[in-house]
Point group: C2
Chain length 665, copies 2
């Protein structure tokens, strides 16, 4: 004890010196006034353990200092995306995606955003929420490039595109042939495609068929949405789908480096159970878990591109679909057995291995891409009932690592370890990879450590942990239950993100972050300095959806109101500016029944000088960032005196930034 005491004293002394010689402390507290003494007194008074103290110091980000990583997490059935700083675990932003969000002016009348949301309608009916699951950052050569983010909606089989220049949703696409998805939002290593894997099988093309025709008519379908990076949009015309058996495909992951050109998906209902507990059938939870093995789907998407070139597809609801028979016979689709209703499928950084999380099996099963290639080349006579070639498990498995109960999903560090979420164990399992990741050949494919988490971890995220070059440092456990971790807020509990330090030999739990606004499923963590968002929009008059100058941008001095008639109806069109602290013009008078088109340009150039446009009584709100032009269009169907005002506290005279909207009876 004595020797470590000495070290402590020296260390304390060095801190004193540092604080005396360094920059002056920020606040008015007396410099060097026994601050470490204060610190210890505070720690003791608050009952902090030594681990708590180090955790506090590892996660605290002082005012004005920035977080090192940014975590993009799905918001689950909130329909949104969460943006979180790491290591502080502070929620920096919630991005409106499938659910309208008025603070951002997303879906409350602003035309561009209404059009984005309209992309997600089904049969013309709006669907104004989503169940976001798996965010995918755009990649270049298998590295996050910080340009775009994609996210799926499991509940309605949709995909959204977010532009990371302004953290706003630019496109929503309804899958024309599927009703639910899950393994969605995964990109190929150069973001050629965004993959939307299916989930619950339904008749292809949204047709009707009864459940007794399940095997014949129900299908899975994996979608390859072609991404046009220059336009920042998915191009449906270049996209395609592959029809799959009705096995309830689950998560997917793209091959990378040596396995680039391939995609891997799990499945968990090779039983083709159709439920019906009320009719004496096993419920889905039992019926889908009978078989010891399900099928890992091994898909060659570069081969699929060739098949498309050859015209071997059908167009269903406007989408090119490679039929199951073609896929099975053309070297596009292969199966390998996988134990038992697995969840995660996670390709190692170099692309050599595919790690499958057992869920109902205590192992992760590690498949070798090299062995898969050999088995494919050797051929197999085994087929599933739909004619898909089935590779032999023993021909393609590299290792099985026993981790414990409920292994779900695996991420990687830079030192050759995998970190797997263990739902039933409520733990993170750290285990060693083998092959090229263990140069010394010692102790490959072995459980190293398990850290308890609180509670029921679903997915897991690591710093750049699913790219070709993970950073290590941090893992976040996305726990589904919090139970007793936080001050109670009623029967609907927050989830719990736990930050874990993985830089040392042992994992250390650093922080509990409540998630009380959605239920994230997956997250990706990018180095913060890879993101280069706009601070303000590049030009005054910017259309944030089109990402270009808006032809209806109003210029100061050229604001105006025009009245015209179209088909006998009065159209009132307004070109308005907003600046601290007034709108120009301030009085708008129309007649009841007029159609109103209202363009507003925020002419500010200062960072953070947002204005908004709140129109009482009309369900209209726009957020206008510096330089932004927004448009609302509506019928003045209620007479009376209404006020429009800036709902952003933009200046000391913010309450005075108001105007009257008079609708004559």
């Amino acid at each position: 004890m004595r020797s470590s005491m000495t070290v402590v004293v020296l260390a304390v002394l060095s801190l004193f010196v540092a604080s005396c010689g360094g920059p002056a402390p920020k606040t008015a507290q007396t410099p060097q006034a026994g601050l470490p003494e204060d610190a210890l007194r505070i720690a003791q008074a608050r009952g902090l353990t030594p681990d708590d103290i180090t955790a506090a110091l590892k996660t605290y980000v002082p005012s004005g200092k920035l977080d090192e990583y940014i975590l993009f997490a799905s918001g689950g059935h909130s329909g949104q995306v969460l943006v979180i700083g790491v290591p502080s675990m502070r929620l920096l932003k919630v991005i409106g995606v499938f659910t309208p969000e008025p603070w951002q002016g997303y879906g409350y009348g602003e035309k561009g955003t209404m059009e984005v949301l309209a992309g997600g309608t089904l049969n013309g009916k709006p669907i104004l929420w989503g169940d976001t699951h798996h965010p995918a950052l755009s990649e270049t050569n298998g590295e996050y490039d910080g340009q775009f983010l994609f996210i799926n909606d499991k509940a309605n089989a949709r995909l959204a595109v977010i532009d990371l220049r302004d953290f706003e949703t630019k496109q929503i696409l309804k899958n024309p042939n599927a009703i639910s998805d899950h393994g969605g939002g995964f990109v190929t290593p150069n973001t050629e495609y965004v993959i939307e894997g299916p989930q619950y099988a339904t008749p292809l093309g949204l047709e009707y068929a009864p459940l007794n025709e399940y095997k014949e008519k129900y299908r899975g379908v994996i979608t390859f949405w072609a991404f046009d990076r220059a336009r920042g949009r998915v191009d449906p015309a270049r996209s395609f789908q592959i029809e799959l058996p009705p096995y309830w495909q689950d998560l997917c992951d793209s091959g990378k480096r040596v396995s680039d050109g391939w995609v891997f998906c799990n499945s968990f209902n090779s039983e083709m159970a159709t439920g019906g507990i009320e009719e004496g059938n096993p419920p889905f939870e039992a019926g889908t878990a009978k078989n010891e093995m399900d099928y890992l789907h091994i898909i060659n998407w570069k081969r699929a591109e060739e098949i498309l070139q050859n015209g071997q597809y059908e167009t269903i609801n406007g989408m090119r679909v490679i039929r199951l028979k073609t896929a099975a016979q053309s070297g596009i689709l292969f199966f390998a057995p996988e134990p038992k209703s697995p969840h995660g499928v996670d390709v190692t950084p170099g692309g050599e291995y595919i790690v499958v999380g057992g869920k109902l099996d205590p192992h992760v099963t590690v498949y070798s891409f090299e062995k898969i290639q050999k088995a494919v080349a050797a051929g197999t006579s085994e087929r599933d009932p739909y004619g898909v070639p089935v590779l032999k498990l023993e021909d393609v498995v590299e290792a099985q690592v026993e981790l414990g109960l409920g292994p779900l999903h695996t991420v990687y560090d830079e030192k050759g370890y995998g970190y797997t979420s263990m739902f039933l164990d409520s733990a993170v399992a750290k285990w060693s990879l083998g092959g090229p990741y263990r140069k010394d050949g010692k102790e490959p494919w072995k459980l190293v450590e398990k850290l308890p988490v609180h509670y029921n971890i679903g997915h897991i995220a690591a710093a750049e942990g699913d790219t070709v070059s993970p950073d290590g440092k941090y893992v976040v456990a996305l726990n589904k239950w919090s139970v007793d971790r936080f001050a109670p807020v009623g029967p609907l509990h927050p989830q719990n993100f736990q930050l874990i330090d993985i830089s040392g030999e042992k994992m250390q739990l650093l922080y509990d972050m409540p998630i009380g606004l959605g239920e994230p499923h997956y997250a990706q963590m990018i180095k913060a300095d890879k993101l280069k968002p706009f601070e303000v929009y590049p030009e005054v008059g910017w259309n944030a959806v089109k990402m270009s100058k808006d032809p209806n941008a109003a210029e100061p001095g050229r604001e105006r109101v025009e009245v015209r008639f179209e088909n006998g109806r009065r159209i009132v069109e307004i070109w308005m500016t907003a600046v601290r602290s007034h709108f120009y013009p301030e009085r708008i008078t129309v007649k009841k029944g007029d159609h109103v088109i209202w363009h507003i340009t925020n002419i500010e150039r200062a960072r953070d000088a947002s204005h908004s446009f709140a129109l009482g009584g009309y369900n209209i709100h726009m957020s206008l960032e510096p330089g932004e032009t927004g448009t609302v269009e509506f019928d003045a169907d209620q007479s009376g005196v209404f006020t429009f005002y800036c709902a952003e506290f933009c200046s000391a005279l913010h309450l005075e930034m108001v105007g009257y909207f008079l609708v004559e009876p």
Copy 2:
């Protein structure tokens, strides 16, 4: 230096002893392994100053420990309420209020919540967002009692009631006679009334009148919503309004203790400006700021109750309204001059003083309730243009305290200090009260300290800081701009809540919390142990809106589907249960065009065992907490095969908790 060194060494030693003798550290790290040494190394490596270190230790709440205070903040134009733990500044929950929120199943088909939102329609048209400003916790004897929370919607003049047993919105009320409000959500000391103050004047009763009839026809109106605590609802029949001149009333606060029975509101447009910059008029920001003085509104609500008893009111749009003339002549309404477009009006803990924040004046002006009473008793011959008695400033002012630029809003501690937000200075000003708060009589009404904040602080909140017995300890600065404080997330920046330690002689800035999902205006901070929310609903089959057993609760073993005809139309009614990990029944088949009524009961009793009901393609989602029964009702207007599933990750077999909804063509 040497002596403080010794203290440090002793303190370090004592920590060692504490960690050796205390409970074992939580993680697997070797006990007493030089942890303080680690701490110092970490602090140095991360560039933490001594102040940063103490701030980190004061705010860190270890896993499983609970926050001491709960901060309820409005979400501004998100339309929601934020629930935040203090001192950790972690967001514990976002409560859906005026904006539908699918994670909570609020407004996505669940009948009870749809009815709550329907309370906020205007002329039958839904308004699905709000601009929440001022949350008000229910009070008993001027203390927060932890039972209810009220919040206004400035954009549409509405009020919402949240039950803190389950943190859910139970009622939304549209003000029948106003189009915008601001000074809303303030309670009287026993929550007899929830006060909704007006903002922008419009013709009373939502009538139309042109702006050139402003002085004659435009009015402010303050609403006293009578609260029925036993029912947990506002009772519109017992509520009333008082007509006010069109002066743009701003914030309000209730008198307490000696001033119980009174309410005080600011105003900022005694000029009765109507804007019109485009016509050569001064813009509102200038027109409303011409006069050196506006009017503090002094309202005797107990006297108003007597006047109502006498029948001296008119009923307008179903609401009892005391007309301006009656109010002016009956001892209900008085004015006192106040400099110049002020913002906050904040009654001191004992009710003796009313502190008015200058906004465009560098002072806070302190009014004495005793002097007001004397002046009222003495009578005044001065009247405003509407006949309201105007008390003389010198008769009612106790003090003016010069604080600096942009004083907005004041809260209090337990030691006799006020803390005022300074928008233009970007600072918190601490100043001494006088009178009974300064027993020694020394240095009353004096600026003591100013702490810079980042940036542009609007409101401010202190621990129980607007009750009759503030706690001191913490102040939160609700800063409107963050500019450079956080990792960039695009042109729409988060706001910045800064936590300040006020327990010591000097204020210390502890923490920056980004608010990237709304723009809070005001917040209240309650001792966490005053809240006693349900962990699970009290009975299986609970209706969360009605807060009682639902007659349509399904019991296990008695689930069923009934088909009947009404007016020649097929009605399919389902009584279903949900439990880990299946719905019962799992297959629902209807015909296109059927009307579907679907009741689901979560029969779980374990804390955090929520299920949800996601129905793809139908814009339907319910969140069902343990014990809860929810109902959706809709037309099966799309044929095809749809899936319903539990979107809460409730168990390892969560993905298998699914059923088919078949709509025959």
